[in-house]
Structure formats: structure tokens, C-alpha cells
């Protein structure tokens, strides 16, 4: 077995040092009835690299690869070009095969990177501080709701109808156990977001309002009035960003007054990967840092006065506080945070703004082309790189028909909101810099044929 360096001679010699006559002696504490006498039956034996590669490649070939077809899916995961150096650098063994930086003297590489990541994230989200990452956007979102409960000591969260329905599901699952009351609603296929409904719903029991920006249908709305209304009632505004590239073009939620901003960082540096691993972003106002979940990296000095970095404020965390911790989270998403940070460093402010600009330009052109297809209506007045079309008939079968023609057209709202008839005709289309004009034209003409 190529990954096991001990030889039979080593094993015998080591057993004699230990004073055991066989390996079975070392498993003496396992009760007889629970001991397996040989390998688990019915399973194959070890295999060569070549054989394993063949097997995995055959499985990989059964999937339609996003990069090989016209591709327009978004709704929480976005396809962007990732520079080659990102993947090269994250595969440096010193990053890839290191553990959580518990011994800071020999983990300054990871720690400095996390400090830089926190700074990049805070600036992007417009918050005072950011943590060293969460699992993904959806879990960061419910952690933020829990954080608002601890800060306000209230248990009612008002969720915007524009919040990703899977994020709502995650929050609903957790709320069942924490006892929070969640107010939710389904979105309307209209250009208007539900800001007015949210403002009207805030009362003295409200811990937070949760709003996605841009929202699930791609719409953007000024969050300032919502932040003011929430804060007037001593509730918090939580903003959720599932497409962080947007913040290279549109105002950050922090600038508009959000107290906590969470996000899915996947679209910068990470890649689609069928849904994971991704990287949750989480930032907040400085006054709330002691209620934040997850890890923080902080600046300090060493015994010689040199600047260095350590994990800090860990008295919030489970390994110190146990049942009184702010969260049970332990592992973060370090390597994905590194990929995010490297990609962001390569982009810089200029590159991010440029990337956001070409995303928007491509999306505007695509929206106009698709809206010109007979029977199709563009819902959005405002958007970044994702918008919703009303196809005038159920979108799910059309998405399948387009997939049969080798076009991955977008996400049907019927997939996201099963049973919601009013939404069934909706198709959410994301257009990033990876979609060519020819791709858009193929989608538009295929839609024309199918809808005719």
C-alpha cells in the first residue's frame, strides 16, 4: 500500500519494543464480539493509482461540465474565471497540509493570510471587522440570526422574501431548535422588493431583519431606510451577499448601515465544485465582535517586539467555553479563504471594479436580448449580473429541454420554490464574464424555438 511506509520488519521490531506478540494484542480492549476478523466483507481491495484514476474519471465524464456549454446558472454559486496562480498557490504543501494555526510561531503564513483576508472582507462588505470565515453563506446567515438574538435578547427574525430559499430553509431548521420565530414570505415576480413590508413588520420583539442584496431574483434596493427603521426599534439589519463580485460595482451593505453582513465567498477564487466546499464571509460593526461566532486572527507582537499574528478572542469559542460558546463551529474554511484572498489580491481594487463592470455589461446586453424573445418578460429594473425572466409558461420543463440541447439556461424558480405556482414561470439567469455573446445568442435562439 503506497501510503503506508512501515515494512513487515519494522512492524515486528516495533511490536517487540512495545512488548506485544501481535497487532491483535493492541486491540485487546475491543470486546470479542465487536472485533472483525478480516477486512470488511463485500468491499474491494486496494487499487493502483491508475485504476482509481480510471474509475473517478469515468464518473466525472457522466457530468455536463459548465465550461463546455453555454452556462447561465447562479442563485448562490457563480462561475467566474479563476487565475491559474490561485490554484497553484493553494496547493503549496505548507498551506494545503497545515492545521489550524494553534502554534503561531510556526503558522505565521496562515495567520498573516487570515489577517489580510479579514481586512479584504471587511472592506468589501463595508463592515468594521470580519472573521476568518464560516462554512458557507447559508450557515453564516443563520449564525448571524443567532448572533442578533444574543445581542438584542429578542427572538423574532424577519426574513426578506428575496432571501435565497435554501438559506431560509437552513434558518428554519435551526430556528426549530433555538426557538426563534421567523417571519418569511415568497417573492413576487415584480421589479419591486419587499422593503416596505419589512419596515412595517419591525416591532419591539424583532431581533433582526435579514435581506439579500442583490436578492434571489437579482434585484438591488437601497438598504438605508431599512437599516434606519430596524435600528430605530433597536433591531439589527443583517445583509446577505451571495455574489461578492457585485460589491465591486454597487454600494456595500455596511455603507448603507447594515449591522452584520454575511456572504458566500465562492465566486471569488473558489469555483463551483457542485456546491462545496465554499467559504462563508462574515463581518459586523466593531461593537458586536464579542458575539461573533468563528475564529478571529489578530495582530500582536512577539517576545522580541516583532509584529506577528495569533488566533484571538477565543474565549467566545467552544474549545474554551464549551456549552456557553457563541457557536459550536470549530473548523472554518481556511483553504477556500486563501483562494478568495489570493484572487482578490490579483484583482485588487482596479481589477475587481473592472470585473464587476464587465459582468454588468454582459448581463445588461443578455437581459435585453432575452427580453426580446417573444413571450419573455424581464422582471428586473435593477440588477448586477443576474436577472429573472418570466417565460409565460412553466420554466422547469423548458430548462430541461434546453439542457437536452446542451444549454444550461439558468435556475427555474420551480426548482427553488416547489409548489409555488405564482413563481413557476420564473427563470433566474446569471451572466458573468465567462458567458460569450455567442452563448447568449444560442440561449436566445433556442428559447425562441422552444417557446414558439
Amino acid at each position: 500500500m503506497r501510503y503506508l511506509p512501515l515494512t513487515s520488519a519494522d512492524r515486528s521490531e516495533m511490536l517487540s519494543v512495545i512488548g506485544a506478540s501481535s497487532i491483535d494484542d493492541l486491540f485487546a480492549d475491543v470486546p470479542e464480539a465487536a472485533r472483525l476478523s478480516g477486512p470488511v466483507s463485500g468491499l474491494p481491495s486496494h487499487a493502483s493509482e491508475l485504476a482509481v484514476e480510471r474509475h473517478m474519471t469515468a464518473l466525472a465524464r457522466q457530468n455536463v461540465v459548465a465550461g463546455e456549454v453555454p452556462f447561465f446558472l447562479g442563485c448562490g454559486a457563480y462561475r467566474h474565471h479563476v487565475p491559474a496562480s490561485v490554484d497553484h498557490l493553494i496547493q503549496r504543501g505548507e498551506f494545503l497540509t497545515a492545521y489550524t494555526p494553534y502554534q503561531p510561531e510556526i503558522a505565521q503564513g496562515t495567520l498573516q493570510m487570515l489577517f489580510e483576508f479579514q481586512t479584504q472582507v471587511a472592506r468589501l462588505l463595508g463592515t468594521d471587522v470580519a472573521n476568518a470565515s464560516m462554512y458557507d453563506g447559508s450557515t453564516a446567515c443563520w449564525e448571524a440570526i443567532g448572533m442578533a438574538r444574543r445581542i438584542t435578547k429578542r427572538g423574532k427574525a424577519i426574513l426578506s422574501s428575496g432571501l435565497h430559499p435554501h438559506y431560509v430553509s437552513v434558518a428554519r431548521t435551526m430556528a426549530k431548535y433555538t426557538g426563534d420565530a421567523l417571519e418569511t414570505a415568497l417573492p413576487d415576480l415584480s421589479a419591486e422588493t419587499d422593503l416596505d413590508r419589512l419596515i412595517a413588520a419591525i416591532d419591539d420583539d424583532t431581533s433582526c431583519v435579514v435581506v439579500q442584496y442583490p436578492d434571489i431574483l437579482g434585484r438591488t434596493a437601497d438598504l438605508t431606510p431599512l437599516a434606519e427603521a430596524a435600528q430605530a426599534k433597536k433591531a439589527l439589519l443583517i445583509a446577505v451577499v451571495t455574489e461578492p463580485v457585485a460589491l465591486g460595482a454597487i454600494r456595500s451593505p455596511g455603507e448603507m448601515g447594515a449591522d452584520i453582513v454575511v456572504g458566500e465567498g465562492q465566486s471569488i477564487g473558489v469555483g463551483l465544485q457542485f456546491g462545496g466546499p465554499y467559504v462563508g464571509l462574515m463581518g459586523c460593526k466593531e461593537k458586536y465582535i464579542r458575539q461573533m461566532p468563528g475564529r478571529f486572527c489578530g495582530e500582536t507582537v512577539d517576545a522580541n517586539g516583532k509584529r506577528g499574528f495569533v488566533l484571538t478572542l477565543s474565549t467566545r469559542e467552544q474549545h474554551i467555553r464549551r456549552e456557553k460558546a457563541t457557536s459550536n463551529i470549530c473548523t472554518n474554511s481556511g483553504l477556500c479563504a486563501l483562494a478568495f484572498s489570493i484572487h482578490m489580491t490579483l484583482l485588487g481594487e482596479k481589477g475587481l471594479r473592472g470585473l464587476a463592470g464587465i459582468n454588468h455589461a454582459a448581463a445588461v446586453a443578455a437581459a435585453d436580448r432575452l427580453a426580446a424573445v417573444p413571450g419573455v418578460r424581464l422582471i428586473n429594473e435593477s440588477f448586477f449580473n443576474e436577472f429573472t425572466l418570466d417565460l409565460g409558461q412553466e420554466a422547469r420543463p423548458i430548462v430541461r429541454a434546453l439542457a437536452d440541447r446542451g444549454i444550461l439556461a439558468g435556475v427555474s424558480l420551480g426548482r427553488l420554490y416547489p409548489g409555488a405556482d405564482a413563481l413557476a414561470n420564473g427563470l433566474v439567469v446569471a451572466v458573468t464574464e465567462t458567458a460569450t455573446e455567442e452563448d447568449v445568442e444560442r440561449l436566445a435562439s433556442a428559447l425562441e424555438e422552444i417557446l414558439a
Binding site: H46, A107, V129, A249, E264, P277, H319, N332, E349
Partner: protein, 533 residues
């Protein structure tokens, strides 16, 4: 006479023990200091060339264009590569040497796993693509699920949890859902041993349970009699780590499970230490109802400096119906189905006699797919025989370390018999004023990452050494020699150890300062300070 007209000739100067004066850069040969990106980059520099796109019309941001500077710093590609390469060299890693962090299972990460995860058919696939276009991805999830079920002797598996602690939450929520279904939501107490990982009580408390300690016996295991005495109608579950965090197999686990089941509760097993028993013991045979498996431990997906992890949860027949959505299942026709909210009821009726009653969704998508491909690659490489050998070599290596050092370091449970995959030592017998921390920092100067320190909490100044199966005997011998030497210095009161590490990129860092005045983001230096200088 030299043939080299420049006058150069090979020469070794005599050794000079005087330390040189600090140089211009602060660097020491290959040990290179690196500033923050915000100190070397700026808003105008970028390392990417963007494709040209013909702009069409006005923007449609709804009046929300971001006009104020964001404050991001950019670097060119060569500078970026150098920045991160320099940072990487300030890290210790498994690729550099033995990484004996107890309870963390830092084993070699095979590069085939990385290669497979990057196949475009896995890496470049969207989670919301039509299911017919992702049959291979769903196939990976299903094939891995099959192995995990077979290796643990359990009934089902929830694949979506993102990490070990997320998996714990999944298992506890399954237990809560099962209790509520039985009309026994009044069972509010979860028993957790003091030696447990901190995530155990944190998880139980999050889910609304009250946490109570289970006492341990003098030989470091759960006290069965005390546990039985505490069981009753208010007990929802016990959470037990097996092998436990003292590196010992819980001999009485089957008896514990039987007693807990008889009292109407469930058994959660923390599977962080599954590496010790994979292929030799199936937790299902010990009566476990739920156990998370850290794919980043036992199945070698890389730790990446603190994640991502992946924590599938294997479930007993009693708990399987409550598993979170989405899940995948293969039907008799060979087709792999993705079961989401809308199809759950129909699927349950068709294939599970209507028994499925999922507690909901834990994350937006299907779980850590990139980790699934790596773990499956690892599992197929080892096969059932190789995985059994993994457990045997992991346990052999740990016992070798234990017996090679028990004469110099106090090993509190060594007298009671063999350990499993990790060897536990304490700080007893060190010289006055010397601690476990000094030993850890001394090991750094010897070129090793320290073991886990001060955990488990049940042993004073604990040092938990988990060598894993991927270390050669030569590597173990070198580590044993280093730890022996450092321990002897700590026993002899060598003052130099108190200020170790001396040769790392940084000396001991001031963690109190970091926590008292948190600096969590970089701030541009104030302009008036520049003026004053």
C-alpha cells in the same frame, strides 16, 4: 597554479561563532520577512488582464453605484506569487514533517486526491444543474455513502454536514426529531464526558439540551455504573468519543448503548478518532445511533490551515428517517436520485414505506463535494484491506511512541494496557516552573510541530501525541529522540527552554495583548503620524 583567472578557488572558511550584526532587510537567508499586501500593493495595480467587453448602454444598479474607494490592494502576478510563496514558508505542514496533533489525525494527503477533485467533471459543475446532467457527481456521493455505511455497520448516512461540529449538530438534531416524533420532547438532558471535545457540549447546548458530565473511571474511561445510575426519563442521549480523547477504547460502549437504549435514549458517538478502528471495528456493532466522520481526518482530505472539513453522519435504522435534505439515493433501476424538499414525500412513499421525516436542510447545497471526491479516491486506493492496515499501523505507531517515552514522561494511563491511535502524557515530573507549553515550544526548535497540549482537560498539562499511520519508523525514531531530549531538558530545568522557540520565524507571541486590544483588520497609518516623523 590556478586555471581560474578570476582568482576564485574553492575554499571553506573556518567556522565563526560570532553572530553577525542585523542586516539591512531583517531577513535571515531563506527565512524571509513579508509585509502585508496593504503595505506593498495599491488600488491601481492589478494582476489580471480582463477580457474586453463592448459596453452597452447605461448601468442598471438602481442608483446604487459604489463610488467611494473600497480600499483593496492589488499586486501584479509575479508579486502575488512571491507574496504567498514567502508566507507559505512560514508554516509548518505535514509535507515538511511529522505533525503529531492528537485528535486531529494529521496524515499524509495523497496528491491523487487533489488531481481527481480538479477533474472538470467534478470541479466545474453547478449544484443546481438539472439532475440528469450531474449523474456522475451524485454517483460519487452515493458511492462514498455506501462505503461509509459498510465501514461503520450503520443503516444510513447524512452527507451534507460541512465539518465535524456541523455533523455533531446533524446527529443531535436527528435525535431531537426522533424524540419529538415519539412524543418524548421532554427528554432534555445529554450526558457528555469531561474528556469530550468542546464541540460536544456546545452542540448539545445549541440544540436546546442541558449538558451534564459523566464521571470517568481511574483508568480513563466512562464510568458505566455511574452512567447507569443517572439514566432516566429525562435523558435524551449520551455523547461518547470512541476511541476517547485519552486514546483509549471505551470497552463498555456496547453495555452503555444497551443501557441507554433500555432507558429510552440514543447514543451519539464522536467519530473524530475513527482512524484508530476503521476496518477493525464497526460502531454499528456497538449500538451507536449516530456518528460523524471527519473526512479530513480519517479519510485524508487536507486540513488546509483550518478547513474546509466535511462531516457526514452515519445513522442507525432508528435515526435514518430524520436525516437532513438534500440526500441522494440509488433506486433499483440504478439511477441516482437527488431528493430535495419537493420530492421527499413522494420518494419516501415509493421507496421507504413513507417513513422518511427529514428534520430539514442544514446547508444551501449538497455538502462538501470537493471533499467527497478526495475521500472516495482515498478509500478506493486503500480498499477494505488497506483501511484495516491503516488502523493497525496508526495504533502500532502510537503504542511505539508511548512505550519509547514512558520512562521519561509521565503517561497516566500507560499501566492499564495499550493505547489506541494516540499516546497521552502529562506534565508531572517536570522541573519546578516548567510546563507542557515549554515542551511544545522546545519541539518547535527541534523541527517538529508540537503535539496537542492541555487537552483532554482530565489530565493536567496533557500532551496528546497522534503520529498516524503515514509515518515511517525512522521518522518516529527521530521524533521520539527529539521529544526525549526536550523532556530531559525540562526535567533538568534548562532555562533556554523557557524562551523557546529560538529558531522559528517568530518568538513566543503576546496573546494577552492580542485579546485585550483586538486588532482584527489592517488600518492605513494615520497621516498625522507621517507628518510628525
Amino acid at each position: 597554479m590556478s586555471i581560474n583567472q578570476s582568482g576564485w578557488r574553492p575554499e571553506m572558511t573556518a567556522g565563526d561563532s560570532r553572530a553577525p550584526a542585523p542586516g539591512f532587510t531583517g531577513n535571515k537567508a531563506l527565512m524571509l520577512e513579508e509585509p502585508l499586501i496593504f503595505e506593498i500593493g495599491d488600488g491601481e495595480t492589478t494582476g489580471v488582464d480582463l477580457p474586453a467587453v463592448a459596453r452597452t448602454g447605461a448601468s442598471r444598479f438602481g442608483g446604487l453605484a459604489r463610488t467611494a474607494p473600497i480600499g483593496l490592494a492589488g499586486l501584479s502576478e509575479p508579486e502575488t506569487v512571491r507574496h504567498y510563496t514567502r508566507l507559505s514558508r512560514q508554516n509548518y505542514a505535514i509535507d515538511l514533517g511529522l505533525f503529531p496533533l492528537g485528535s486531529c489525525t494529521m496524515k499524509h494527503n495523497p496528491r491523487l486526491n487533489e488531481k481527481m477533485a480538479r477533474l472538470p467533471g467534478f470541479a466545474d459543475v453547478h449544484p443546481l444543474q438539472p439532475v440528469d446532467t450531474v449523474q456522475g457527481a451524485l454517483g460519487v456521493i452515493n458511492e462514498l455513502a455506501f462505503w461509509l455505511i459498510e465501514l461503520t455497520g450503520m443503516h444510513g448516512v447524512a452527507m451534507s454536514p460541512k465539518a465535524g461540529a456541523h455533523g455533531e449538530l446533524c446527529g443531535i438534531l436527528c435525535i431531537k426529531a426522533a424524540l419529538e416524533k415519539r412524543g418524548e420532547g421532554h427528554r432534555k438532558v445529554i450526558l457528555v464526558p469531561e474528556s469530550a471535545h468542546g464541540t460536544n457540549p456546545a452542540t448539545a447546548a445549541f440544540a436546546g439540551f442541558t449538558v451534564e458530565d459523566i464521571p470517568a473511571t481511574p483508568d480513563g474511561r466512562v464510568d458505566l455504573a455511574a452512567l447507569e445510575a443517572r439514566l432516566g426519563p429525562d435523558i435524551a442521549a449520551v455523547m461518547i468519543t470512541n476511541p476517547n480523547t485519552c486514546g483509549l477504547f471505551e470497552r463498555d460502549l456496547k453495555a452503555i448503548s444497551d443501557a441507554v437504549h433500555a432507558a429510552g435514549g440514543y447514543v451519539y458517538c464522536d467519530g473524530a478518532n475513527f482512524n484508530a478502528i476503521v476496518g477493525r471495528v464497526r460502531p454499528g456493532d456497538l449500538g451507536v445511533d449516530a456518528m460523524h466522520i471527519n473526512l479530513h481526518k480519517t479519510f485524508s482530505t487536507p486540513h488546509g490551515g483550518g478547513g474546509p472539513g466535511s462531516g457526514p453522519v452515519v445513522l442507525s435504522e432508528a435515526l435514518s428517517p430524520f436525516a437532513p435534505l438534500p440526500y441522494t439515493a440509488r433506486t433499483r433501476d440504478g439511477h441516482v436520485h437527488l431528493i430535495e424538499e419537493e420530492r421527499a414525500e413522494e420518494f419516501s412513499a415509493e421507496h421507504f414505506d413513507g417513513r422518511l421525516d427529514s428534520f430539514g436542510r442544514m446547508t444551501a447545497f449538497h455538502g462538501q463535494m470537493g471533499m467527497f471526491t478526495r475521500a472516495l479516491t482515498y478509500i478506493l486506493s486503500h480498499g477494505a484491506d488497506g483501511l484495516r492496515q491503516v488502523a493497525e499501523d496508526a495504533v502500532l505507531n502510537a503504542n511505539y511512541v508511548l512505550r519509547s517515552l514512558e520512562d521519561v514522561l509521565d503517561a497516566p494511563f500507560a499501566g492499564a494496557g495499550p493505547c489506541m491511535h494516540e499516546a497521552l502524557f502529562s506534565d508531572a515530573n517536570l522541573a519546578q516552573g516548567f510546563s507542557t507549553l515549554d515542551i511544545a515550544k522546545g519541539l518547535i526548535d527541534e523541527g517538529f510541530h508540537p503535539m496537542t497540549v492541555y487537552f483532554p482537560l482530565v489530565v493536567h498539562g496533557a500532551m496528546l501525541v497522534e503520529p498516524t499511520e503515514t509515518e515511517s519508523k525512522a521518522a518516529l525514531d527521530q521524533f521520539i529522540g527529539a521529544l526525549r531530549s526536550v523532556a530531559e531538558r525540562a526535567k533538568a530545568g534548562d532555562a533556554a527552554l523557557k524562551s523557546a522557540p529560538h529558531f522559528a520565524p517568530r518568538a513566543r507571541l503576546d496573546e494577552t495583548l492580542a485579546a485585550r486590544k483586538p486588532v482584527l483588520v489592517w488600518k492605513d497609518p494615520a497621516p498625522q503620524r507621517e507628518a510628525a516623523e
